[in-house]
């Protein structure tokens, strides 16, 4: 996927002016926090489970090499095949090779963010294979040639009129004058259209929420059932999974599952949580004859041992973005790549480079809401700050910011001179603003005063006044 992250600011400007998007954001914004809060309130052990979740993932990452090898052995014992892929190119080639070998014409797909990261759809299309997204949200985005704007609600930026318009355009075999009375009618139409595609597909591709070393299983968590149809009906099932999805045992996965749905949608448990282990067994009446896991690194192993290692705990629940006031101002597309919101602000620079994704860890107020809801306690603001440190070290921080900071720092290191300078500045601004108490505009303060007045200072600095009071014996 081509990144537009360098244009974050321009993307944000457009997003703020996009009435349809703002309507969708305003509609959705209060929903997730309320649902999560209710689910968490109903499980008194939730906070303890967050510590457990963090510890399970930390334990796994500290022994990731061992668990990956153990898991791979168990996949092969169950008749599956593991394709180890260092890069996105390797992974695309592995998927294409499997599809070509079985002469696949169409491929159904369950929702997978790693698939977006790898650009699987474009790659298959270039080689004459038709990918069909089957998650309702992903399906309409494929019709509209748009990327997802959210990692679990990919199309929540769309409004009902967008759905109707896209369906009329795409489903030309249906009467043009049909009426969608309810949202349910839109969903039913998609259900009918996709049924035929599920049955015709030669290969089904899903992602994975977890990989389990103990059993060699991959786990998907969905509400629609499309992921299960995708992996059950075609002859070949391909799982796309990145290396940090690993957990040791079913019990470890279970503890994380107690956190996942509650953090994501506020459900106690998702509708379908499915553990897949290898190929159709003798006597089974359904299920795939081939089971492949395309295991993707694509930059993650390089995060181990760095200050960004904590990010490998992420279970992609989306709680961070669901609670992020920046995300809900500009929407997911503004972030310009696969992963938006706070987790994207940390992960994207790791995967596409801080030179391209530099805005993302900067576009945060460090309000800390994301960290407070993260089910595995990733210190997201601290990790964003670490990216800012890397940018500063590599002189990627904008020149004006650097020089202002350097000037300020020079004074701030010298309290005596600082007193003199601040006193002069406060006195001047205080005098200029003494009548109205604020400025409508001020040279060099455009960033502030374009949308806000700048309150004027009192005029004295604290230290000037304090010295006066001390001399007068009043303090």
């Amino acid at each position: 996927m081509l990144a537009t992250s360098p244009a974050f600011k321009e993307n944000a400007t457009q997003a703020l002016a996009n009435a349809g998007l703002q309507k969708a954001l305003t509609r959705t914004r209060p929903q997730h926090p309320a649902k999560r809060a209710a689910a968490v309130a109903a499980l008194p052990e939730f906070e303890q489970l967050r510590d457990i979740g963090r510890d399970i993932k930390n334990h796994t990452i500290a022994h990731l090499d061992f668990y990956l090898e153990t898991w791979a052995g168990n996949v092969e014992r169950a008749g599956g095949k593991v394709h180890w892929c260092s890069t996105a190119d390797d992974a695309r080639a592995a998927v294409l090779e499997i599809c070509n070998r079985v002469n696949a014409k169409t491929v159904t797909k369950g929702k997978s963010m790693i698939s977006e990261e790898l650009g699987i759809n474009e790659h298959l299309e270039q080689h004459g294979i038709t990918p069909v997204e089957t998650d309702l949200g992903e399906y309409i985005l494929q019709l509209r040639h748009e990327p997802p704007s959210h990692i679990i609600g990919p199309a929540f930026h769309l409004n009902r009129e967008d759905w109707e318009e896209s369906f009329r355009k795409a489903h030309t075999d249906l009467p043009a004058d049909r009426v969608f009375h309810e949202r349910r009618d839109i969903m039913s139409e998609a259900r009918n259209e996709l049924r035929a595609k599920f049955l015709a597909a030669d290969v089904g591709i899903t992602g994975a929420n977890f990989l389990i070393a103990e059993t060699g299983s991959s786990v998907i968590v969905t509400n629609e059932g499309n992921g299960d149809l995708t992996q059950t009906l075609p002859r070949v099932h391909i799982v796309l999974a990145s290396i940090e999805k690993m957990v040791p045992t079913l019990e470890d996965a279970t503890s994380l599952l107690r956190l996942l749905a509650r953090s994501a949608t506020g459900q106690d448990f998702s509708v379908y949580t499915t553990f897949s282990t290898g190929i159709r067994r003798p006597g089974d009446l359904d299920g795939p004859e081939e089971y492949h896991v395309v295991l993707v690194d694509n930059g993650r192993s390089a995060m181990v041992g760095t200050e960004f290692q904590d990010m490998l705990r992420c279970i992609r629940c989306s709680a961070c973005m669901n609670h992020c006031p920046v995300y809900f101002s500009v929407g997911g597309h503004s972030y310009g790549w696969v992963y938006p919101g706070p987790m994207g602000a940390v992960l994207t620079p790791s995967l596409i480079g801080i030179d391209k994704a530099g805005h993302l860890p900067n576009a945060s107020t460090f309000c800390g809401k994301c960290e407070s809801v993260c089910p595995v306690k990733i210190p997201l603001p601290m990790l964003m700050r670490h990216w800012r440190e890397r940018e500063f070290e590599r002189h990627l921080t904008p020149k004006a910011v650097r020089s202002n900071l350097a000037l300020w720092a020079w004074f701030a290191r010298r309290p005596g001179l600082y007193r003199v300078a601040t006193r002069a500045a406060a006195a001047m601004l205080g005098w200029m603003g003494r009548r109205k108490g604020r400025f409508h505009s001020l040279p060099l303060a455009g960033g502030w005063t374009d949308g806000r007045d700048l309150p004027a200072p009192e005029g004295d600095t604290f230290f000037a006044r304090y010295a006066r009071e001390q001399r007068a014996g009043r303090v």
Partner: protein
């Protein structure tokens, strides 16, 4: 004022914060008054400038460490360090020690300082046991929970408990008093459009309460919210919570309003 202060007065160093120093000294004097009424002996170390957040949050660790060293020297010798800001308080209490992860000696000093650093209102209630204040404020106020104070220092009920004792004051809550106002230090000038969008959501929530006064414990957030309220022509008065609790609202006009 009721209190359970220890017999000998604790020596409290006031960390004024650069914004209060430059912009609204009254908050510093309100802090001194509240601390003295609570039975503290307050001193203001002269060798202080800034907690270092502008550098820290820009990724300039070297400058941040230099400023932190200055803070350790200036504030090391007191019983407590008190800050009329959750954000600067959070910086000293949670972030300062991590700047010295590579130097155990300095880290130990930073941890000792962090352990005795408090935000003003939390210090009054949680350490000095203050339950009541001598102040009156006729009006309906709404309280914004600034992010660092709320999430790094656990300040939520403390200011509300003290405000409940202010004569004539009625508190009415926003729908979401905990959501960020969009200030974010340098964020508000690096991403002004997003910041303005966020503060506009906040001012809508403030207006919906019908309160005539907005209070908070962080001057940065207050400047941001006052700036937007005034741009919108709102009559809502904006003040630091310490001004109200110290009974100093007659000393200075609300933030963003003139004397004329």
């Amino acid at each position: 004022m009721s209190q359970t202060a220890p017999a000998s007065k604790p020596r409290v160093a006031l960390f004024v914060t650069c914004l209060v120093d430059l912009h609204r000294p009254t908050i510093g004097f309100a802090a001194i008054r509240l601390l003295e009424r609570a039975g503290c002996q307050v001193e203001v170390p002269r060798a202080q400038t800034c907690c270092g957040q502008p550098a820290y949050n820009t990724g300039d660790r070297a400058t941040t460490r230099d400023l932190a060293m200055g803070i350790l020297d200036a504030f090391g010798g007191y019983d407590y360090v008190v800050v009329p800001s959750g954000s600067c308080g959070g910086m000293l209490r949670h972030h300062l020690p991590h700047l010295f992860d590579d130097d155990p000696n300095i880290k130990a000093r930073a941890e000792a300082l962090a352990a005795k650093t408090y935000e003003l209102i939390g210090f009054l209630t949680d350490v000095m046991g203050v339950t009541e204040v001598q102040a009156a404020y006729p009006g309906t106020v709404t309280y914004h929970d600034s992010c660092s104070g709320l999430r790094e220092l656990g300040l939520k009920q403390q200011p509300r408990r003290l405000l409940a004792g202010v004569a004539g004051l009625k508190l009415t809550e926003m729908t979401d008093p905990e959501v960020c106002c969009g200030f974010g230090g340098t964020f508000c000038v690096k991403y002004p459009e997003i910041s303005v969008r966020m503060v506009s959501d906040k001012t809508r929530d403030i207006a919906a309460t019908g309160a005539d006064t907005l209070l908070a414990g962080d001057l940065g957030c207050l400047l941001n919210m006052a700036g937007r309220l005034k741009r919108e022509g709102s009559p809502v008065k904006v003040r630091h919570v310490a001004e109200v609790l110290a009974g100093m609202t007659n000393d200075v006009p609300p933030i963003g309003e003139g004397r004329g």
